[in-house]
């Protein structure tokens, strides 16, 4: 996995949503970017970026079955590993990540941004009372 220069981000999210949200853009297998997903969930409870299988199929990602089931609150389920490129940010301020291994789950209810790689690269502060997330590049 490689990434461009890490930028500091302050992401605010709407009162309608009770969880921290961040903007992400994915690239398909051919390198074509998707439109911006404005509200991926910043989730420290997930180890990896996790996306629904339907999206992975649409992006034509190569899925590699995992030898072990993964633990979710809904129980043990089958999962796949895929490699994807993505951009974090919006409005002309982006950090590009290439070849990130992610988790793909058929029953995934949202796009989850987990520990690897965002929480590993950033000190993340969630200011829930301000509906704001601060991502500060780790030194």
């Amino acid at each position: 996995m490689i990434h461009s220069i890490l930028l500091k981000f302050n992401f605010t999210y709407d009162d309608r949503f009770g969880v921290p949200l961040i903007p992400i853009t994915f690239f398909n297998k051919g390198g074509v970017r998707t439109q911006l997903l404005n509200n991926a969930i910043l989730d420290s409870g997930a180890y990896e970026i996790t996306i629904p299988k339907a999206l992975a199929d649409m992006l034509e990602l190569e899925l590699r079955p995992r030898s072990n089931l993964v633990h979710t609150a809904g129980g043990l389920i089958e999962a796949y590993t895929a490699t994807i490129s993505l951009k974090l940010g919006r409005g002309g301020r982006f950090v590009h990540y290439a070849k990130v291994d992610i988790c793909v789950i058929k029953q995934c209810p949202a796009v989850l941004i987990g520990i690897h790689p965002i929480f590993e690269d950033y000190n993340v502060t969630i200011l829930a009372h301000e509906r704001k997330s601060v991502l500060d590049p780790r030194e």
């Binding site: 439109q35 404005n38 609150a73 949202a110």
Partner: protein, 58 residues
């Protein structure tokens, strides 16, 4: 009095929006919304998931 839009019926759905947040397309299937988004020039539309406060994903 400010009218509050009820998004309950859209809970969990994926939507394709203009930058002014006008809904262009809505679906339960995330892939359909991403696919529809590719019909527009990059940056003209955005994708969001609708969910109500307190939704627990895990």
């Amino acid at each position: 009095m400010k009218k509050i839009k009820n998004h309950k019926k859209d809970d969990g759905k994926w939507v394709l929006l203009t930058k002014k947040k006008k809904v262009l397309y809505i679906s339960d299937n995330i892939a359909d919304v991403f696919r529809k988004g590719q019909e527009y020039p990059y940056g003209e539309v955005i994708i969001e998931q609708r969910f109500k406060p307190g939704t627990c994903f895990f």
